[in-house]
Symmetry: C2
Subunit: 147 residues, 2 copies
């Protein structure tokens, strides 16, 4: 699982002309295999032994590169530092009120809602669902025509 993701991610990078350096490889790998949502500092510390001379700046630089390539999502919870999450295929549904069409859309980072809900209600959270309703482009266009 990790390997597939990693390979895909490296391909994505390569295809956008980003060099694959050992540091980048390691940072990506760490984020992918990490089940939590590591902070930049978590990543830095985790790779310290492997890359004793790596700079914090490198971690930040590359997190930005990954973010811009759409590989990684930056999550900001209440606490002081950002967390980073490899973007996988979790997705929600966008539903057309008029024709019922369903479109997937991806949006990571609602973990915070689960967190807050758990905190506020004392529940042990297992999952959540979300749907967004509206009018699809086609129906929108027809509506204006008829009118």
């Amino acid at each position: 699982m990790t390997e597939v993701h990693l390979r895909d991610a490296l391909d994505t990078l390569k295809s956008t002309g980003v060099r694959i350096t050992p540091q980048r490889h390691a940072i990506l790998e760490f984020i992918i295999q990490s089940m939590s949502h590591p902070t930049a500092d978590d990543i830095y510390k985790a790779l310290e032994s492997k890359f004793p001379s790596m700079s914090v700046a490198t971690v930040y630089n590359n997190l930005r590169v990954f973010r811009e390539a759409g590989l990684v999502k930056e999550l900001t919870f209440g606490d002081s530092s950002s967390r980073f999450d490899f973007i996988t295929n979790d997705h929600y549904h966008m539903i057309c009120n008029s024709c019922g069409k369903i479109v997937d859309f991806h949006y990571p980072g609602l973990d915070e809602v689960e967190h807050l809900a758990s905190h506020l209600t004392g529940f042990e959270v297992s999952s959540h669902r979300m749907e967004i309703y509206g009018t699809c482009p086609t129906c929108k266009e027809q509506a204006t025509k008829v009118q």
Copy 2:
């Protein structure tokens, strides 16, 4: 509208033994009447003329007080500083998988999801729904007992 919210908020504070100082009054009022989601600095600047000697620390202190009293929500978007939002009555449901109990919980700030979804899919968004599932404290306790 603003007045009702403000009065309620002040009552809430009073009932939890928090003193109503002119600064607190002004900060609360500003957040409530503000349609945007001001940062601490926005608030500080907005009240500068009214309270020339107010410290930034006071703004932060009181935002924490309000947050802890459940009056205000701290929103962290990507940008560097937190934004603060008066909590009104939008709410979601937390549902117990075991006994079906439903608990309301409040969580403003999912407008961004609607925004993003609209942007990604071209839909005209009208609404969204979200539910969170898990185990309520009572059921959690019973589960451990049985075991």
